[in-house]
């Protein structure tokens, strides 16, 4: 593969495995210290997360391949079809499918011929519209803390024919802030443009099972590494709503362009950047119930959402789109914390997520 022939890649590739592991471990500790500093600074990140990236696994694969090359003295195929680009897109895709604007909590399972993975994401955040007096447009802001994890199990065939199992766990924590403007076109329709800045901490742990050592005995190798990512997302949203007596229909379309810059001290392949785009279509229908709590009404709701990770390769995570349908209840509390921003509803919802080779659920608390 061409990427393996670059000088840097060959250097990594041909580094003895134990040296590579020793280096990786040393740099990992340095990065833990960095993360602790970041956690204190941000205050909300209370625990150190373990990050695993596909790149580590693939680097280890490269090491394996180089060892095998040395033993057999013949060119390799198979595993070496994986490129640096695959490594980068996989790591960034995981971050994007966790922390992109508009995504909600989810638990996903990918079940494919060669791949089984479990992914979850969860977010705690709030967005609000602020009226700007003497202007037609209004302001919009939001803050959010997002966490997610992926456990990916991939069955591969080494270039020499033996099966190799890659077992990866990746964890990410993101803190994001959004600022934007809302343009009301009429009483049923608004356009919204938002700029979102996010910082993410990504940790990867990889276990490679099936590597042959110099005596052709299978071994198990473990790698840890990390990366920090800064993302800038520009979003354009179109929001429509209409009331039919006490029933409300809401439709929205969202398009995000995301620029991600990744930094890693222990994995040079993850010192990279990427442009991605995602799109979402959301629909929601709600109606009254006879339930009240503290004289405040409850409303039922049903919803259907489609998310399309437009630029994402299917090989990155095993999917490029998700469809979700669900239902829930919302309580109209109608409060105004700090006399600043209105908080209309709190509720809970249950959703089913599906796509080709993907199944999942979304159970969570909603606030808006």
């Amino acid at each position: 593969m061409a990427d393996y022939e670059s000088k840097e890649a060959v250097t990594i590739c041909c580094r003895p495995l134990h040296q590579f592991l020793a280096t990786a471990e040393y740099e990992y500790h340095e990065l833990v210290a960095f993360r602790v500093t970041a956690v204190i600074f941000l205050y909300v990140m209370k625990s150190i997360l373990h990050i695993i990236s596909l790149s580590t696994v693939l680097l280890s694969t490269l090491s394996i391949n180089s060892n095998v090359i040395a033993q057999n003295g013949s060119p390799l195929t198979g595993l070496s079809a994986l490129s640096e680009s695959d490594i980068q897109s996989s790591a960034i895709a995981f971050v994007n499918t966790t922390s992109s604007p508009g995504l909600e909590g989810a638990t996903l399972e990918v079940d494919d011929t060669q791949r089984e993975s479990d992914q979850w994401r969860s977010s705690l955040g709030f967005t609000a519209e602020v009226t700007l007096k003497d202007h037609i447009f209004n302001a919009y802001w939001g803050l959010g803390l997002v966490t997610g994890s992926l456990h990916d199990r991939i069955q591969l065939t080494a270039d020499t024919g033996e099966p190799v199992r890659l077992d990866m766990t990746r964890d990410v924590t993101s803190l994001r802030g959004s600022l934007g403007l809302i343009f009301p076109v009429n009483q049923h329709f608004k356009l919204r443009s938002v700029l979102t800045l996010a910082v993410s901490d990504l940790q990867t742990n990889s276990i490679v099972d099936g590597i042959l050592d110099s005596n052709n005995n299978p071994t198990i190798q473990t790698f840890d590494n990390s990366a920090q990512l800064a993302s800038t997302a520009g979003s354009l949203d179109a929001l429509y709503w209409h009331w039919f007596d006490n029933y409300k229909l809401e439709l929205s379309a969202h398009y995000n362009v995301i620029y991600t810059d990744s930094f890693s001290e222990d994995n040079p392949i993850l010192d990279t950047h990427a442009w991605d785009s995602t799109a979402q279509l959301k629909s929601r229908f709600s109606g009254p119930t006879s339930l009240t709590t503290k004289a405040r009404p409850w409303r039922w709701l049903v919803y259907a959402n489609h998310s399309n990770f437009i630029t994402q390769e299917k090989t990155a995570l095993g999917y490029t789109g998700l469809f979700e349908i669900g239902t829930g209840l919302e309580w109209q509390l109608n409060v105004k914390p700090l006399d600043w921003f209105g908080w209309q509803y709190i509720g809970f919802s249950v959703g089913v997520i599906t796509s080709r080779n993907v199944d999942g659920i979304n159970v969570g608390i909603t606030a808006r």
Binding site: V185, N186, Q187, W243, N334, K336, L338, D339, W340, Q344
Partner: protein, 134 residues
């Protein structure tokens, strides 16, 4: 319980005390012009009060009793002139805002629950909203 050094615990307690003090001063009680007056705040300009045109304003002292207001909800396609009529109680604050409801604007009774929180109660829809192209 996390076992922290005393100094760090003290700093943390001071920090939270200061934060709570600052935040609890966010919601100020409403100040009324006189005992028999109510107060209304609007996120959108009030242009007519009890049938009389006024300059755009966002805050008004109202005499208790039946009052009528026209408030404009501006959009890029139309202006919506919404007429509210209700009986204002003395010493009570009201608020007009948009919540993507059936009508462009809704009138609420504004209630200070504590230093951190206000609530919007007793929603009143406008009698009518007249739509005019911009």
């Amino acid at each position: 319980m996390i076992n922290l050094p005393f100094k760090r615990q003290t700093k943390r307690i001071i920090f939270f005390t200061v934060m709570c003090t600052v935040l609890s001063s966010c919601v100020q009680p409403s100040v009324f012009k006189a005992e028999d007056y109510a107060l209304i705040k609007s996120n959108y300009p009030i242009v007519v009060i009890n049938g009389i045109d006024i300059e755009d304003t966002y805050k008004l002292d109202l005499e208790a009793g039946e009052n009528s207001l026209v408030v404009v909800y501006n959009t890029y396609q139309y202006d919506y002139f919404c007429t509210f009529s209700w009986i204002a109680k003395a010493g009570t604050a009201y608020e007009i805002t948009d919540q993507e409801n059936n009508h462009p604007l809704t009138l609420f009774r504004w209630h200070r629950k504590n230093g951190l929180l206000t609530t919007r109660l007793d929603p009143v829809n406008p009698l009518e909203c007249t739509q005019k192209p911009r």
